[in-house]
Subunit: 195 residues, 4 copies
DNA sequence: CATGAATGAGGCTTCATTCAT
DNA sequence: TATGAATGAAGCCTCATTCAT
């Protein structure tokens, strides 16, 4: 009954994440997702209002997992720097497994249609959660002398982008292996020569 | 007549950049672009093979402009750091004016359809150009003692992502003003406390 | 339990009349009716074969009420003309309360599908009943010298249309108040000048 | 070019009138009409915004023809009564040929959806035209002593309904032949006995 | 008797692309 | 070269109906 519904909803989301990952929002047909879920087309609409809703929901699920990862790491008993390193590893690994998960970045963020509206709203919420968790880690690092006194929240945004840069390089710059250590090294030490 | 062709081609690209910026690839109709160009739908196909071709071409034009900016700055007679600062300003300003120009980042980079294929190929070429120009600046900086001895190319990638992070924050994190100086500060000095 | 069945059937019909009135046959969803009845969708199918059956049944109920009205008035101890006037008032009032009840008149009477077939058959039966009752009144009027010697049945048809004309005018001709007295006046006296 | 367009539009309307007549609005598929017109589905949308638009347009065409008939008869040099008789004949004959043309009367006039809205608006306009033409005839009849001094417009409404009653009877009351003379007789002379 | 989750056929509409002019 | 009318494939979504519980 209710239990079963939950399961099916989850099942659809999983299928959707896979298909959206492969084809993107527009080229994905609802029938693809239904087929992948092993259910009828109409059934999807019992769980999601429309394609946009399903898309946003499937991304929200990814972000939920990311937040979960951050939450857990944040509570571990290691140094701030180690936490950031661990987060980098875990998020990269997650994104590698689930290619859809766009840490951020979409074709078109200017239009005001249904998808974008839901997406923006969802992402703002989720990113706020992520940024707050990272900011807390950075703040702790500042307090215990690991980090210089930067703005924790703004720095969190850059930290997330550092992670993204790794994927980006992998995808667009063949031959260049920008593994995470390069990005983190730069993130921690900066470009300027230290004396 | 060659002259005329060129002009019309340029005109279509300009129109396409505007419409794609507003609506994204999928929601943009060829007729929108034709209308915006003041020509007939069929005429667009005399200059571009198909919608994907036009899309990639319109982005390529943007990247061409970006490369042009980098080329000019690279040749200026200022410090490496100042060059990077100037590039940041100019690219951000360009992206602000032309919202479509996605320094990088699209909905879906995993699919193998027409658009992505052309896009990937074009972007790899263009990004290589950009990265080489930036790498040269960084290399100069290293040589003259401004920067520590990082990998110039990989650092370039990270540099471009830093620029992107500014736009990203602006869009997704309302209330947070992540102006470019924060990013650059971090990029140059790193997170770790310097003694 | 037979009692209970009856009640639920009646309840569904009442709900159906309301929803069909508001949305028409095609735009009404079975779930709307189920919801309005406070029961589950599947349950409706225990009482009615399909949507068409329910539609025809819900109209048949209306016609049953109309026949009831005619039957009662016919037996009253007033003049034939007064009976017709009273019937006009009562039917108009009934139709006003139950907007669905289409004294007659549907979008499409030519098709041979399920709905129309059942509808036609039901309406023929019901209209025959109504016409016979009115014809009896008219016949009495002829016999007692109130009316000229028309064909009672055919005249009954025109009488019903007279009633309908009132509703029709109200709906389609804004600003024009064709109250029942106008139609009846014409029906009784005709257009030609009497000397 | 423009000429051809006009023709195709007309062709589609003719096809639409036929199919709508046979199946009604909801059961008619746009593909039916396209097929009947001998063109592709998409082409219909070059001439009509959507199905509702086509429906209303196809009925408007019928009403235009009816208005044309009235206009011509009104100008003839015969008595008012003869004009009304002629109109009755011509409209009945037209409606017989084109079964769709619903002098008036649709399933559901209460809902506020697209079809009904356009339909209502169109019909109000067209009926006003028809009523004014008939009212002029009746007014002339009153002035020249043929008719008693009724309200010309309201009587026009009633007149149109009389015509409709003929079709109605034919359809719903098998075995009863209510030819037009019965209706007109009643319309002119009324039910009450004349002395 | 009652439920309501699941089904899947079916219809409207969009739009990239072609081609006769 | 330029046009734009015509095409028709493709996809989202609705909803009557069924059936296992």
């Amino acid at each position: 009954m209710k239990r079963q519904s939950r399961n099916l909803r989850k099942k659809i989301i999983k299928a959707a994440q896979g298909v959206f990952a492969e084809k993107g929002f527009f080229k994905t047909a609802m029938s693809d997702i239904a087929g992948e879920s092993g259910i009828a087309k109409g059934t999807v609409y019992l769980y999601f209002k429309d394609k946009s809703d399903l898309y946003v929901s499937s991304l929200d699920d990814h972000f939920g997992n990311a937040v979960q990862i951050l939450t857990e790491v944040e509570q571990e008993n290691i140094s701030a720097k180690e936490k950031l390193q661990k987060i980098t590893s875990l998020l990269l690994s997650y994104m590698n497994r689930f290619k859809t998960f766009p840490l951020f970045g979409f074709d078109n963020l200017n239009d005001a249609d249904k998808v974008t509206k839901g997406l923006k709203s969802m992402m703002r919420t989720r990113l706020k959660q992520m940024i707050q968790l990272i900011a807390k880690i950075i703040d702790d690092g500042i307090k215990n002398g690991e980090f210089s006194s930067v703005d924790p929240e703004k720095t969190s945004v850059y930290f997330l982008n550092t992670i993204r840069a790794v994927l980006f390089a992998k995808f667009f710059i063949p031959g260049m292996t920008v593994d995470k250590s390069v990005g983190l090294e730069l993130f921690f030490n900066g470009l300027k020569k230290r004396r």
